[in-house]
Symmetry: D2
Subunit: 368 residues, 4 copies
C-alpha cells in the first residue's frame, strides 16, 4: 500500500502534484442521503487558499472544486464522491535548476532515494497543495458530524514564542484575522514578528489547537486503532508537523497521578462527567464524552530566501537561494487541514464503532 | 475493523485480557528463513516483566512465551507465527466491587460505554499486560532489522522533572538500572523522587526516547502512511502516552527556518549527509538516512492509593481507595514497548517499500 | 499482507500447521453481548472431525477447542476472541522422505518456491487441518446471524457423477449420513462408488451447495466487494475448490435474457419478491432478499495410494506411493467449512453495510 | 469500507456513474520508473468501447482518457496516477420513468434497498461503464507484467451453446472479429445466433477464457489471499459474472484423483514442470509455474426489448418494455475487463510476494 488512502469505513484517496494538471480526492464510503453541493466544499477550500493576506503566497489559484460523481439531485448516493481542482498555474517553466539540487528541509532528497527520481515541479506530491484533497474530504466529514451533533473548532495557538492567552480567548475573532488566532493582542504581536522574519528572509514555526465538541463516549478501537492513536497519525501525516499532543500532552511527563487523574462526578441532569479534562477527552483510547483536545506543532517553512548550503546531483557542495515568494509561516493555512484530518478521523471511527454491540446490529437489521 | 491488528505487510494481531487464561499475538507476513527460537522472544519479554525492582509491581508472572506455529527446525517458514503466554494469576477473585465503579484515569467508563459492559478482571484488555503481544512481536521485528543493519536504542529520558543530561549519557548504564536511564546521576535522583511519591500514594509521569540507527533513506510512504505518521500512531497507541515528538518535536514551533533546516553536505566517503539532525531523520515523511529520533510522553500511573472521588454504576458519587501494589511510574516497563512498536513499524514500512521502483520488481523476479 | 487475515469488520486471523503444537484463530470485531461458550464452537468443529466414518481419515484427534479470551461470564466482550485446538498427534516422525519430493496435486512444490523451503509435517499449513480456525470462527458468525434471523443450510450436492435429486430432497437426512447428502438414494450410490475407488487406491471430486435464508436486501458493496465477489473469494480460498457458482452459475452462459431475468412481483403481504431465483439471491453484487445460493466444486483428494510419478529435490524423476490412510473424498468434511466461510462473509458484509445510510448513523448515535 | 478499492500493494480506486460528468480511477502504488503515456491506456479502453460492431451499443462515446497525475516526463513517479474519462453523453434526459420501477435482472431494486434511493441515469454506478476505471488500471498493470515477462491472452470461449473448438484455435483471429473469438467458424455461427436473438428482442450469455503465461512459481498467499481466491473475487466482481472456474473447473467434481493430479517431471533444461495442467497453474493457492487458466461465465444482457413484468415504486405490478438499443451480449466488451482484472490481481500478488523471504529483503536493502 502506497499510502495515498486514509480511513477505513470513510476512506479517502488523494492524488495530484503541485504543478500537474489537477489535484483531487475520491471519498469512498460516504453515507447516502447527505445534502451536499460544491459550495459546502468550496468554503473549506477557501480557508486554505493562498493569497489571502501578506503572510500567505500571492499565487492566485482560485482552487475551484467540482463534484464529478457520487451526488444526485443534491444528495450523496453512497457511491464514491470524486472531487477535482484544476491547476491554473502549470506554466511550462524550466525546472532543471531546482531538479539539480536538494533543498534543505524539503523532501527532494528523500523522494529521489525512494523512487530513483522525482517530479521537481513545485515540490510535486510533497507540496502543501497535496492537502487540497484532505480539506475537500474534510468538508464532507464535518458536515456529517454536524448532523449527529459534533462540531470542531480549530485555531492558531502560537506563532514562535507568542502564545494565545486563555483569558483573552475570543472564538469570534478566529476568522477575523489572517492568522486565525482567537486572541487579538497575540495576533498583532505575531504579525509584527512575521514581518520582521520576512524582511530577514526567514520563517517561523507555530502550533494549532483543535477542539471536538459533542463526542459520544466510547468511540475509538481498543488497542492499536485508538482514537488518540488514529488522530496522532492523521495529524503527523500533515507535512511539517513534528509533534502531536492530546489533552495535557507533554505536560503529563512532569505530572503526578493525583493531579493528572480526572475524577468522575455527575452533572445537574445526573449524567456522568469528569471534573477536569487533563485527558483531553480520551481514556484508554476511547472518547470519554468530554471535549477532545489536540495540538500540532509545525516547523517553520523550509523555503527561505536567505542563503543555504546544500549538495547537488553531481555530489558537489553548493550554496543556494530559494527564489519566489514563500509564506513565512505554514500554520494559518494549515488550520483547516488539521480540522479536516480530525473530522475525517472522528467520523471514520464513529462509523467503525457502529458494530461494537450486538444490539446495534439488531437495531439496524430488525424489521420495525 | 476492531483495531487489534497492526501493520500491513508485517501484520500483528494481539489478543488477551489481563486475568484471562492467556495473552498472545499472531504475526502474519514474517519473512521466511529467519533463525528464531523462544529465547529471542523471552529476552524482550523479560524487559517488561514486573517484579524486577521496587518500582514495578511485585506480581511474579514469569510470562514464559511459547511458539505455537510458523517455525520449523529453528527457522521461520513464512506462515503465521503464533506466540502465547499463559496467565498464572487467574485466581477467582471477587471483582464485583471493582466492577461497580469507574476508576479515574482508567478505561473503565469508556469500555462500558463502547460495549455495554466490561471485563473488570485486572483492567481486562486495557491492562498494561496487553503489551505482551506487542513486545513478543517486536522481538522478531528487531531481529530482522538487525539482519539488514538497523539497530534501535531506547531508554528513559525523564521522570517527573528529572531529565537525563546529554553530557552524562552512558549507553552501557541503561540496562544497569531498573529505571533504564542512561545517566547514573539522574537515575539516583529519580529513584528518590519515586520513593517519595510512593510513600504519598502518588505516581509520576516520564518520557522515553528511541533512536533508530542504520536506516536506509526513502523509507515511509508519501502522504498518509508517512514514517513519522505511522510511528506517531504506533507510539500513541501505547496506553498512557499523551504526546509524541519526532526530532526537535515541540521545539519546532518556536524555531526559525534558518536554524531548523538541516543543510546537506558530503561525508568523507562522498555520501550525502545532513550537517544537523533537527528533522529527527524524517523529511517529507520518509527516512533521510540520519538517525531516527522519537520521544513519547507518558502520564503518571492512574492507579494511586490515595483517596479519589468518582461515580458508581448506580450513579452515586463515592470516594475510593485503589488497593494493591501499583508501579509509581509506567515508564521503565514501557521502554521495551516503545522499542517494539518502533521496530514493527520500521520493518513494516521497509517491507512495503520493496515495490517502490520497477527496478526492484525486476531484481526479485528476474531469472539470474 | 501475508493472507492469513480474512474479513474487514468481522476479521479472523488463522494460524497453525497440521503437525505443529496447536492451531487456532483470533476473531477481532465480534460484537459485544453475544452469549457464547465452548460447546457452541465444538459442535461446528465436530462436523469436520475426521474418523467419523469409513470415508474420512481414521486419525482420532478430538480437536477440542478452548476459548482463551474475549468472553466474560458467558458473553462476548467486544475484544478479540482467541480460540485454540491443541494437536494430539505430533509424534516426532521422520519427515525426511516426504520432504525430499513433491507430491502431485499438493502444495509441496509451490511452498518451496515461495518460501525457499517448507514444513513437511503433514502438509504443514496447506493441510486440511488449516480449516479448524475457519470453522471455529464460522460457528460464532453463524450464531450472530441467527440472532438477526439469518440461517444457512449446507450439504453435499454431488459425488463424482452422482447428483442429488431435487425431488428426493430431504433436509432432515443431511446429518443422518456421513456424506451429508440430502437424498438417501444418492448417498447409497455415492457410498458404493467411494468403496470402489478406495479399493483401487483412487479418490473422487464432488460439489457442495449452500443456501442462506433470511437475508435482508441491499447487503454487499457495489463495485469490488460485491456479495458474490466476496463469497467467490471465501469459497475459492478453501483448499481443493476449483470453481464457484452463484445461482444458475455456469448455466447462464447458455441462457437467454428472457428466461434468465427474474421478474419482480408482490407477495400476499405486498412485499416485493422475485418470481424465480436464477440470480441466486444477488443482483448487482447486493443481496436481493431472496435465498442466496452458491455451489463449490472440489477436486478429488490428491493423496492417493496408487503409484504416481514425480520429481525429488535432487531433480530426479521418481515413482512414489503415498502411504497412510486418506479420505477418498474431501467433500463431506468440507461441508461445514463452506458453511463457515459463507457465514463469516455474510456477517462481515452486514457489519460493513451499517454505515451505508446517514439515517443509520443517526439511529445509532442519537440520544433517545 | 465501501468497496470501491481493489488491491493491496497495487491499489485501484474507481469512481463515476454512467451518466455523470466523468468516470475515473486512481492507481496507488504503481512502481516508479515505468514508461507510460495516454496511448498505452487508450488502446485498452478502445477494446471495451461501444459502437464497434452491430453487437455492441451504438452510442459513440469516444472515452478518451487523460492522465492527471503520477507521470512526469513520460515515466511513472511512484505517486498516485489519476486517470479520467469525461462523459460526452450527459443530456438532461427525463429519468423519472426509469426511476419509477425496478428492471428485472438489474441492480435497481438492490441499490434502492441499500442506500434508500438511487441515481437512475443509465444505471448509475451499476452500469457497465463502471469498468472504464478497471480497464484503464489494467492497461498499466499489463504493461508492468510485460516488463517481467508475463503476458495475458483473453478471448470469448463460448456464446450460448456455441463453443470454440480447440482444434481450430487461432490466436491471431481474436482481434479480427468483433466477438473476440479465436475460432472463425464459431464466430460466424455465434453472429447468426446473436442476429436471431436481437430480432426477437432477446439476449445471450457466454464465457470468457483467460490465460496468463510466464508466471513465476510461488505467487499467491497461502490461506485466504490465494492466487485463485483473489482471481475468483476479481472476476466475480465484474457485473453479470455468475461462475468462475480455475483450470479444469467444474469438471473436477466428476474427476478421479488418478487423472486429476498433474505429475511432475523435468523439461529438457532440467527444470521442474508438470506433465499436464488440470490445476490451471495453481496448487495450494500459489502459482505452480504453468500457464494460469481461468474462465468466467456471463449472464445474458438483462436489458431486453421484449415485454417483462415487474413492480413500480408505488408497489403496483406493471409490464415494461425497455427502450433503446442494447447489446444482445455482454461478453465481447467484457474480454478486456477480464484481462484487466486478471492483470491487476496478478501484479498485486507479485508485489505482495516480494517480502516472502528474508533473502529478498537483503537483496533490496543491501548496499552493493
Amino acid at each position: 500500500m502506497a499510502g495515498s488512502n486514509y480511513g477505513t469505513d470513510f476512506r479517502i484517496t488523494t492524488w495530484g502534484e503541485s504543478h500537474g494538471k489537477a489535484l483531487g480526492v475520491v471519498i469512498d464510503g460516504c453515507p447516502a442521503g447527505l445534502c451536499l453541493n460544491e459550495e459546502d466544499i468550496q468554503s473549506f477550500l477557501d480557508r486554505r487558499k493562498p493569497g489571502q493576506s501578506k503572510y500567505t503566497t500571492a499565487r492566485k489559484e482560485g482552487d475551484e472544486v467540482s463534484i464529478l460523481s457520487g451526488v444526485y439531485e443534491g444528495k450523496t448516493t453512497g457511491t464514491p464522491i470524486s472531487l477535482i481542482v484544476f491547476n491554473k498555474d502549470q506554466h511550462s517553466k524550466d525546472y532543471s535548476e531546482i531538479a539539480s539540487f536538494y533543498r534543505p528541509g524539503h523532501a527532494d532528497y528523500t523522494f529521489n532515494e525512494k523512487y530513483g527520481f522525482r517530479d521537481p515541479r513545485g515540490g510535486g506530491r510533497s507540496s502543501g497543495r497535496e492537502t487540497i484533497g484532505r480539506v475537500a474530504a474534510g468538508a464532507i466529514a464535518s458536515k456529517i458530524l454536524k448532523e449527529i451533533g459534533i462540531s470542531i473548532l480549530t485555531y492558531t495557538a502560537s506563532i514562535g514564542d507568542i502564545l494565545i492567552d486563555p483569558d483573552r480567548f475570543d472564538e469570534g475573532f478566529i476568522n477575523e484575522n489572517p492568522l486565525y488566532m482567537p486572541d487579538k493582542e497575540a495576533s498583532v504581536k505575531a504579525s509584527e514578528y512575521l514581518d520582521t522574519l520576512r524582511s530577514l528572509g526567514d520563517s517561523s514555526g507555530g502550533t494549532i489547537e483543535c477542539l471536538v465538541k459533542g463526542m459520544p463516549a466510547g468511540i475509538g478501537e481498543t488497542v492499536f486503532d485508538k482514537l488518540d492513536a488514529e488522530l496522532a497519525k492523521a495529524i503527523m501525516s500533515i507535512g511539517a508537523v513534528k509533534a502531536v499532543e492530546i489533552g495535557d500532552g507533554i505536560k503529563v511527563s512532569c505530572a503526578k497521578g493525583s493531579t493528572n487523574n480526572d475524577e468522575f462526578t455527575l452533572d445537574e441532569t445526573g449524567k456522568i462527567i469528569k471534573r477536569t479534562n487533563h485527558s483531553g477527552g480520551v481514556l484508554g483510547g476511547m472518547s470519554d464524552g468530554d471535549t477532545l483536545i489536540l495540538r500540532a506543532h509545525f516547523k517553520p517553512t523550509p523555503s527561505i530566501s536567505s542563503q543555504q548550503k546544500t549538495v547537488n546531483k553531481n555530489n558537489e557542495e553548493i550554496a543556494i537561494n530559494i527564489k519566489g515568494r514563500h509564506d513565512p509561516i505554514i500554520v494559518p493555512r494549515a488550520v483547516v487541514v488539521v480540522e479536516s484530518m480530525t473530522a475525517i478521523t472522528v467520523l471514520d471511527l464513529l462509523m467503525r464503532n457502529m458494530s461494537s454491540k450486538l444490539d446495534n446490529l439488531k437495531k439496524i437489521y430488525s424489521n420495525p
